[in-house]
């Protein structure tokens, strides 16, 4: 589907030039990178009036940086780059990221970018659910410099986010959790190349007695306008031993706390039932990864 309203294509070499273009063209400009969701946005009528495309793939934003207290993933890092990162392959706390990129086909792995998965603000995507469970933040750059926006604030609605005018996503920051932490992600899909019917991501931190110090549980894929935090499930888990009883309780709590949509992929009732199953499975998967 061609975006025939587009009159110019820019490929700026740095962040400042991106901001200048965004300031100049305002609502008529769109940031692109991998381009794998352009059709998805256009077919939903979300790209009317776009006259300028700004490709940020040459803007120096494709590095994965491992710091002592966090991991910073540049916005144009491709899924395939995540797959070859040793930290993401080996660190239990990053398991939810590793799991999420195990699903897409090779063509998406080679094109789609981490920043695009966030900035699209699509409630059916996988990585956002994982990044939310990992308490991630979007690094945004704009006319006033850079700021970090916690992802729970970033996703403000259906295909909407809290970026200010002329701001764009430059990286995702994932804070390193305490020891004995692990995360996991699971997706339910109709085929290998479809958006999620339901997905779930959990992050657990256990104490020395194997009790849960902290839990973050998110469900996405049509659960609402954004992925939804299952706070009741988190509260049940916190302070408890994570076993089949508490896992079943958390799954039930997650199901009770959602108000999913019905569409051609699944009914709301089915989505809610599967939210319970996926949260339970993701919890077992994360638990098995804690040292």
């Amino acid at each position: 589907m061609a975006l025939t309203s587009v009159e110019a294509f820019h490929s700026p070499a740095d962040k400042a030039s991106v901001v200048q273009l965004l300031q100049k063209h305002e609502d008529n400009a769109l940031i692109v990178a991998g381009g794998t969701f352009l059709h998805g946005l256009a077919s939903r009528g979300l790209l009317t009036g776009i006259e300028v495309l700004i490709d940020i793939q040459n803007s120096g934003l494709d590095n994965i940086t491992i710091n002592t207290d966090n991991v910073v993933i540049g916005a144009t890092t491709r899924f395939a780059q995540l797959e070859t990162s040793q930290e993401i392959a080996q660190e239990a706390w990053l398991g939810a990221v590793k799991d999420a990129i195990a699903y897409p086909p090779i063509q998406i792995m080679n094109s789609a970018t981490v920043g695009g998965s966030i900035a699209s603000s699509c409630p059916f995507f996988d990585l956002p659910t994982s990044f939310l469970a990992l308490n991630g933040a979007a690094q945004a750059h704009g006319p006033d410099g850079s700021r970090d926006i916690p992802l729970e604030e970033f996703f403000s609605g259906l295909f909407e986010n809290s970026l200010a005018p002329a701001e764009f996503v430059t990286a995702i920051k994932l804070p390193q959790p305490p020891a004995n932490s692990a995360s996991a992600f699971i997706k339910l899909e109709t085929n290998a190349n479809d958006l999620a019917i339901v997905n779930a991501a959990v992050a657990l931190t256990l104490d020395a007695e194997k009790k849960c110090r902290q839990a973050r549980v998110f469900v996405g894929g049509g659960m609402g306008e954004t992925p939804v935090r299952a706070s009741a499930a988190e509260n049940l888990l916190t302070g408890a031993v994570v076993d089949e009883d508490s896992i079943a309780g958390a799954g039930e709590a997650a199901k009770s706390g959602v108000d999913p949509i019905s569409d051609h992929r699944a009914s709301a009732e089915y989505r809610a039932a599967m939210a319970k199953v996926l949260v339970e499975k993701a919890l077992r998967k994360a638990l098995a990864r804690v040292d």
Binding site: M1, A2, L3, T4, S5, V6, E7, A8, F9, S11, V32, G34, G35, T36, L38, H39, G40, S43, L53, D55, Q57, A80, P104, P105, I106, Q107, I108, N110, S111, A192, N193
Partner: protein, 153 residues
């Protein structure tokens, strides 16, 4: 407004005029006349437009021509010629892996990256490697056998 870009396709550099919104697929088929890459869903769901970009399989319907200026594109036309087929092409013939043929070029390009990175894939790896490509004749078994055959040669 159209712009002139240089496009390196199958080791030949072409100077072509494209619209800023043109997909790579459109540039290949409608400007360069390279019709092996097919326009199926035109939205990244079917895989029959798959080409290699610097050796990596991508959907050419979702890649913009303007994004490919300094990179190397390989299509099935660049895999082999009738007089010297690529082992993947020969294996598809020998394994009778073609029914209507619409998906074939895209699947061979996905298989090209798969075999370049994993010369001896097991069946699971082959299925994963072509999971971004649909065959609506549902001839997957022969396709998998063809890729196995190519890997053995």
């Amino acid at each position: 407004m159209k712009q002139i870009i240089q496009l390196d396709v199958n080791d030949e550099v072409h100077e072509i005029a494209v619209q800023p919104y043109d997909s790579l697929l459109r540039a290949l088929r409608e400007t360069l006349g390279l019709n092996a890459s097919k326009r199926g869903c035109d939205s990244g769901g079917c895989g029959c437009c798959t080409v290699l970009l610097d050796g990596k399989a991508v959907y050419s319907c979702m890649t913009m021509a303007m994004q490919v200026k300094d990179r190397k594109v390989t299509t099935v036309e660049g895999l082999g010629k009738v007089a010297g087929l690529d082992p993947i092409q020969q294996a598809f013939i020998d394994a009778d892996a073609v029914q209507c043929g619409y998906c074939t070029c895209g699947i061979m390009m996905a298989a090209k990256q798969l075999l370049a990175e994993n010369p001896n894939p097991d069946e699971d790896a082959i299925r994963k490697g072509i999971s971004g490509n649909l065959c609506r004749c549902t001839g997957y078994q022969k396709i998998i056998e063809a890729i196995q055959l190519a890997s053995e040669r």
